[in-house]
Symmetry: D2
Amino acid sequence: MIIMHKDATQEEINHVIAEVQKLGFKADVSRGESITIIGVIGDERNIPFHQLSILPGVKETRMIETPYKLISREYNADHATNRIIHAGEVEIGGKTPVYIAGPCAIESKAQLFRIAEEVKKAGAHILRGGIFKPRSSAHSFQGLGAQGDSEAREALTWLRDAGRMFEMPTITEIRGETKVELIAEYVDILQIGARNMYDQDLLGVVARQGKPVLYKRHFGASVEEFLSFSEYLAVEGNKDIILCERGVLPTGKGKSFTRYTLDLAAVPAIQEETYLPVIVDPSHATGRRDLVYSMSCSAMAAGASGLAIEVHYNPAESWVDAAQAITADELKNIIDTCNRLHALAVENRKKAFNKPGR
Amino acid sequence: MIIMHKDATQEEINHVIAEVQKLGFKADVSRGESITIIGVIGDERNIPFHQLSILPGVKETRMIETPYKLISREYNADHATNRIIHAGEVEIGGKTPVYIAGPCAIESKAQLFRIAEEVKKAGAHILRGGIFKPRSSAHSFQGLGAQGDSEAREALTWLRDAGRMFEMPTITEIRGETKVELIAEYVDILQIGARNMYDQDLLGVVARQGKPVLYKRHFGASVEEFLSFSEYLAVEGNKDIILCERGVLPTGKGKSFTRYTLDLAAVPAIQEETYLPVIVDPSHATGRRDLVYSMSCSAMAAGASGLAIEVHYNPAESWVDAAQAITADELKNIIDTCNRLHALAVENRKKAFNKPGR
Amino acid sequence: MIIMHKDATQEEINHVIAEVQKLGFKADVSRGESITIIGVIGDERNIPFHQLSILPGVKETRMIETPYKLISREYNADHATNRIIHAGEVEIGGKTPVYIAGPCAIESKAQLFRIAEEVKKAGAHILRGGIFKPRSSAHSFQGLGAQGDSEAREALTWLRDAGRMFEMPTITEIRGETKVELIAEYVDILQIGARNMYDQDLLGVVARQGKPVLYKRHFGASVEEFLSFSEYLAVEGNKDIILCERGVLPTGKGKSFTRYTLDLAAVPAIQEETYLPVIVDPSHATGRRDLVYSMSCSAMAAGASGLAIEVHYNPAESWVDAAQAITADELKNIIDTCNRLHALAVENRKKAFNKPGR
Amino acid sequence: MIIMHKDATQEEINHVIAEVQKLGFKADVSRGESITIIGVIGDERNIPFHQLSILPGVKETRMIETPYKLISREYNADHATNRIIHAGEVEIGGKTPVYIAGPCAIESKAQLFRIAEEVKKAGAHILRGGIFKPRSSAHSFQGLGAQGDSEAREALTWLRDAGRMFEMPTITEIRGETKVELIAEYVDILQIGARNMYDQDLLGVVARQGKPVLYKRHFGASVEEFLSFSEYLAVEGNKDIILCERGVLPTGKGKSFTRYTLDLAAVPAIQEETYLPVIVDPSHATGRRDLVYSMSCSAMAAGASGLAIEVHYNPAESWVDAAQAITADELKNIIDTCNRLHALAVENRKKAFNKPGR
């Protein structure tokens, strides 16, 4: 990274960017209140730091060892500022938590619209609905989108229309590079599922759509790996990345009583490392309807910026992941409680450790 | 387990107990408001259920498949009732959360008394202090207790006296079967550390002291294993067991940014399975001072019955685990916030799922 | 699955296949010496078994619970027969082990040809060379293929030509759905790396090229998951799948001394479940040059069908994964020793457990 | 550690030892062909290296960072020499592998003697038999030893007598500090099971019996932790430690098809770090009779110094762990094959990497 002098001119900054590009690299610019930092993107073995450090206006050049640079607080020109991501009218990463809700899989227009109406009333901000489902068995239902392009378009239209009708931006999971553009036509936030966390090429295609990305941690990934692969989104110039913790592999022999182990300490730990917002998915993490409430509260108390929750008017009939869906009534209680918990926990966190902005 | 008729007489109950004992087993009696259940303790391959089921007053006999029987809600005569454990004036598992605080290791009388005074003022209920320390290196400081019996007695006396002076029951970790009786002479609650979770013989000796036991989950144990080994305490007739979640092995390559992965979903999951109270240790779980606040809040929102937190007036000088100790000021903020979070989360949990008593 | 009568006519078999297709499913036919089995591929909730079971020539229909059906021994008409996969003149899964060797990443034409010549002399059968490299950091060298399409074609041409010159079929790793056809033009075996194990859409595209696929287990996947996702290849009609064990996440705090934990018991365990060949990659598993010999021997003694090993004439200079490459001399010693170990272990395995064909 | 001059006199060495002891530490002496090293045992924060480095005959003093010092090759005066451990006539860690065999649990005198005779004929060197069984359920059979002291003595007598009759040293697992002396009266090698790996106090008591110790790795322990806790045996002055790999926690969701994941790369990795012998237990690792052969072969090819295998004349009737016991016939085939595999693998290992003595 190249740190510019406080009084570097815009001309000097432009000159540095041009030089970086001439050398075959991409430049990423982070402007803070008092300083500007230019990140150099490319194979880091070949960056000629010496050459760059003597350009006019350059204060110093520094090699950042960590594989996540562009998304790190250290690199950010304003260390203490969090990134707020906009999807329609909704702000993710701001002062109040954001709730994403909807069915695991879209089953029909009627099902989606009914659930959309219910979650809106319950207080949700963003509407989710699965159209392309990654499944562990090749012989399971793979989502309406898997049945053909016209079925996919139809379901995407429902999602877009339900979002418009109930005034919520929409989100759905991407599956397969070739579907990205189609999906981006219809939805506001593109979700990369846990199993695709490592799929660097998919990450590139998704990031290049220029829309916010909800990026889920793989269940076998450390926090460091999660952040390092997030960087594959950022190097495409898209930093509208919402990180999502959804549980890691359980430990030990015998029953864990939850589908995954929700790693809530990762929430504040990630917030220390990066300025990106972190949300939590208690539905997939626990796989148990009766634990969604507790883990929602817990995530909020940990300081998460939001929740993604699966809702169905008749959970037992849900085609996919029936064991973890809750009703809109339950969602309402969660949202009401969580808003208060979040305010309480975040307010006193600032007091305790005197960390402005986090 | 033997379920007695509602109107079974005390004589019939006594007769069944006597028969169980005659057959070479131990009997564990659980009396509910309306029914009485008698557990049969011993090698389960040899229990003659047929013979027992025809005794007068017996309604039915049932084999419980799970290895944890005596501590399970299913076995308990009053399913919905939680066990409240008494240590001095303190109730663990009741309506309000309990805070255990103190130094990781007792370093001197002055250090202990100063910290005891501070944590009492901050709102702590129980005083902790390590005297026998299990360490991962044989070449590290093993606690004052390891220096000899007189040093051990001296440190134990300090702990007892500090507890008396500042009106807090005390707790310290057990290390080694031969030290159990000595420690039980001085302290109110006996702690079995995570690394000793599987040590069945130690569990037996500790349980037989008749004092409350704080029992920590091993970092490689599933919830099922944790509960199954708790049963080794219960079969000794001691059900004053406080379960403690303190983090499991992190997943994935690279840095996890926390020492262990705190499994907070285990808190409500365990509460479904057993009537015993569950507390959380955010200090060892994260190994990071700056995450203790967030994980304390998170644990409370998950419904934990209390917290165990390491406190030092000068964390950086702490002989053991310096990176995770917090100050009493920080503790006070945590306790104040956590009390409110706990009340909020537990109150609405009941509303949401209509689960009386949990 | 539909099991046909022993004396079912070809006409009856064709009729069943036609009916399956008319119902909107795909049919997969497994012909054994005495029986024929027809697998029904599609969303398993909707298969009308009753309707199919009364067709002429059908002996019985059976729902296979496991998510891996087409690749299971149970489904296979000849349970005891292993699948032999052909790549050029090389047989994978036959009586003698197969050795895949070459550089981790192709660095230049000269580098590749020199290594190709050396590994051929050492006894290798198949030439590997990375062109598109999945890397954990977005700022690392991503392979020559990542530099552009013409660079990719050039490197692929080198690989094809080196394979022809030294008479070895070739293999390289796929990265990204859009590159699959390009790569399939040039190489004989398509490799899906561990990080892409869960990428169902990539699996589909790769399988449809009709070439043998080397499929690596993800480091966070159980054996069951590995086999379940292999099924995504098989449902495309491509059963030329070479499974590859390359290590899972290490357990425990502190150093494991190897990059991953090589799960060698998975080799015979997988051989029980499926008729597909299993090979082992000791280079990535250990990440240590000095352990490649031992783990190669160990894999062979476990009954693996082959090894994939990274070789460089100057390991220390290797651009990628320098710590794990060995020299061709070391490879020669490994191949000579492993051939003898494999013969010895497999021969006596048959004697011991009387399992013909495995 | 204190490295003495080549020509340091015995008097100088004794003087250094005396000084170390005067300072309140224990001294551990390692004499090589040309040099002598004195290890200082105690709380390493307090060792006055300066004071020791100026004593006559001292060449240099060095702080070893690793928590395993006394068992490390680095510390050993002859780096390349492996430790050979003697139990009766049997050498563990020598040129030929050693086979420990017998029933999981001793069920009766007849059962033990019959199995002892059979395994001796099959080629076993050491007789194992469980008397105190650590079990995951408090309601399972805990071994004959748990039924009382006289039953324990009786079973121990059988084991001793069977060992004498069939000329094999004996081994049994320790459970509980208070049983150590009793067991040490009767058996030749004391086994510390995986679940007790972290039990530092038990380790101390066992080591002080002065008999060889078979020490099993916990299923949640890294190699580094395993070695660090072995040090708790060594600091008692007992270096007759046989390390045993028996599998770690499986990774991933769904079935792993083996009870644990046998970490065979740990065998050569540990051999690099320490001079102690490493053996493998394929029975507990896999939990599957049909995989014992393959994993035995695999362990031998990895260079293990021996195997511990559970044998029963009628595996299906075995009271404990019935699924993993093999017959003596199967054992014989394993031993015959393994001897040849071991010779082949070890011989060529030396050739390959030119590592004398390993």
